[in-house]
């Protein structure tokens, strides 16, 4: 077993077998590591970039980063699993984030969330079979004046009611 703090090179060799678009993503991730001088302090910032590139934090991506940043795999996993923004499972094309913050809660977010679950046939944390939607909740997205709200991708949908949910989803299907 090589020492965890030394880059093993195994991961780099494995990259040779990748198809071109995958390789390009790894190269961009490599560039992000270099931008931050391979500093372990930048781990969270680099993980953000990795998730942007790959959609979620795959096993091989996490291994690649542990190798590049010369830190134990356990440390990278520890950080990935601590923060709710990072995901180790694939996400749908659109991520639906139903805000369950206090203002939204007082204005009926629970019923809106229920409507999304019913309409999509999935529970919170799941992705639809067609890979279109993932359903998550957020603690507060800071749009309290428009409560209850949900984000689909980058769009914020405000003053939602259970009735509006179906119509809102229609625009993305």
């Amino acid at each position: 077993m090589p020492h965890a703090n030394q880059p093993t090179g195994d991961v780099s060799r494995a990259l040779v077998d990748l198809n071109p678009p995958e390789l390009a993503k790894f190269q961009q991730l490599e560039a992000a590591c270099e931008y931050f001088d391979q500093s372990d302090e930048a781990l969270i910032q680099i993980l953000h970039r990795a998730q942007e590139l790959f959609g979620y934090l795959r096993d091989d991506v996490i291994r690649f980063l542990a190798d590049r940043l010369r830190m134990p795999l356990s440390r990278v996993f520890g950080v990935v699993t601590f923060y709710s923004f990072f995901s180790t499972v694939p996400k749908g094309r659109y991520i639906i984030m139903v805000c369950t913050g206090t203002a939204c809660y007082v204005r009926g977010a629970d019923k809106v969330l229920e409507a999304f679950q019913k309409e999509l046939g999935i529970a919170v944390g799941q992705t639809t079979v067609d890979g279109m939607f993932s359903l998550t909740t957020a603690r507060c997205i800071g749009a309290c004046g428009l409560a209850p709200v949900a984000m689909i991708g980058d769009d914020v949908h405000s003053a939602l009611t259970p009735d509006k949910v179906k119509q809102v989803l229609q625009d993305y299907r």
Binding site: V106, G142, A143
Partner: protein, 628 residues
Amino acid sequence: MTPAELSAWRDRARQAMAFRNAPGKAAGPLPDGTEKELLICAGGACISSGEPSVEDALVRALAKAGLDDRMRIVPTGCMGACSLGPLVRVLPDDVLYVNLAPEDATAIVEEHLVGGTPVERLLYRPEEGADPIPHPADMPFFAQQEKIVLSNCGLMSAERIDEYVGRDGYQALAKALTQMTPEMVIEEMTASGLRGRGGAGFPAGRKWQMLADAPGDEKYCICNADEGDPGAFMDRSVLEGDPHRIVEAMTLAAYATGARKGYVYVRAEYPLAIRRLQLAIQEARQGGLLGRDILGSGLTFGIEIRVGAGAFVCGEETALMASVLGQRGQPQPRPPYPTQSGLYGQPTMINNVETLANVPPIVLRGSDWFTGIGTEGSPGTKVFALAGKVNLTGLVEVPMGTRLRDLVETIGGGVPDGLAFKAAQTGGPSGGCIPAAHLDIALDFDSLQAVGSIMGSGGLIVMDETSCMVDVARFFMDFCVEESCGKCPPCRVGTREMHGLLTSICEGTATDETIGQLESLAEVVQSSSLCGLGMTAPNPVLSTLRHFRDEYEAHVTDRTCPAGVCRNLLTFTIDYDLCRGCRLCQRHCPTDTIFRINGEKKYRIEQAGCIHCGTCYEVCPFGAVKRE
């Protein structure tokens, strides 16, 4: 850049800002020939309400009317009246249009800008049929406010340093660097009595003094922009609407305390704030206001942004520092305090966004001016995020000591749908509920603490009689269970147990001992948790128990939920006289437990099969289904 050059720059920029520096007072075209400015609110809430398409429509309408060289559209930071968005404010007339749709653009251009008459149907009306109010200064929502922190938000573009300079931006820094010693800056801060706006209310001047007194050359200052309290969005609005203010404030802090490097820790949920802050840092660097030899004074200071990744506990100082260094955001015992041993074991000071936003005005206008606002123990203003069951929601800034009643009834326009005010929740998951009996309470640090709540970061959620206070307490406990970092057992296990007890009360399985168990467990968690998250997690429970104990008892003893929220405790029945026999309830009932009364065109609910889902109550067009 020298201070003299900055002054000259300010004078030039001011001319272009003439309309905005005196709304409704300045007249005549601006030096570049602009006759009117259309400020469009590009705050987070207005963008969600359709600001981009309204802006596009205005651009097209102006071009069509051939006015685009004489009238200018300025996207600004948050104007505050979120529920009235998208908003457009026309200057120098100072007319505010509310709830706009893209179709309204032509009317504004043709009737107002060309024809000279404001479009009456697009103006704000306090209620339907009431006279419209064209000027923001005449609207109760704005008239009662006093803006220090938000004085630039809504009046300037956040993406142009020129506009910040034209609003006296970086003048406080120039004043400090040329006329004040670092000691004098700290003295001014201490004399101002400014208290930390992040929650605890620690005197900011004292914190600055502690960092300045700490030994060594390697010191850091951090801006805490990990605004995690659900219901609070003032830090987001400041960063999105006035990012240079934070750059200037941190540079002032660096000068006063000797910090050589600054970090802004922003949550990942605020991408626009991150982008605008990045731009501001870049502009300040290019303008010689950040970096080496700032304003020719020899001061060197740099700021880096660190993006969080979704963990409430990272708002806690020691957890935040761990996260800045790319680690799991778990807190450390204090002492040592960050000003003794923080980032890399070096002295570090952490200030909240709103606290820092107060710094440039205090340095520029003096502590005497600042202490003249607010109360003796809590000088200055406070920004509140007014939300929940209130007619006008948004971001409001009022002097400390303003009565809760004024905030809810005058500024917020009261509770909608004719319902009664029940409570206001302040301080998020660490705070408490203020009942109607205390509606006249003064909003300042000490008064709120006296009734068992806290100022917190300034989220203020209004609740009406349809909110169940036990369910509210459970909601916050659910939050704490999810967000507990898991390091110390009182918080990790205690919050989960409290959540279980609250659930049993809501579901009708509690015993006579449950409330007592909840109280004693709350005290244990409060006194033995490692960090602020755990220590304050029981607050929502303790404060609702204090003010709404009868509601808890009704759940346990009578097995009823007075607010009609806890479904397991509700009984649904059909009023014989009101039932018209339409069968709507029977068709919707998921458990087929609604039956026709023999020989009659009336229906009844068989209680044994009822799962209390409330569907019949919601679908009945005649209000015949009763919920008790």
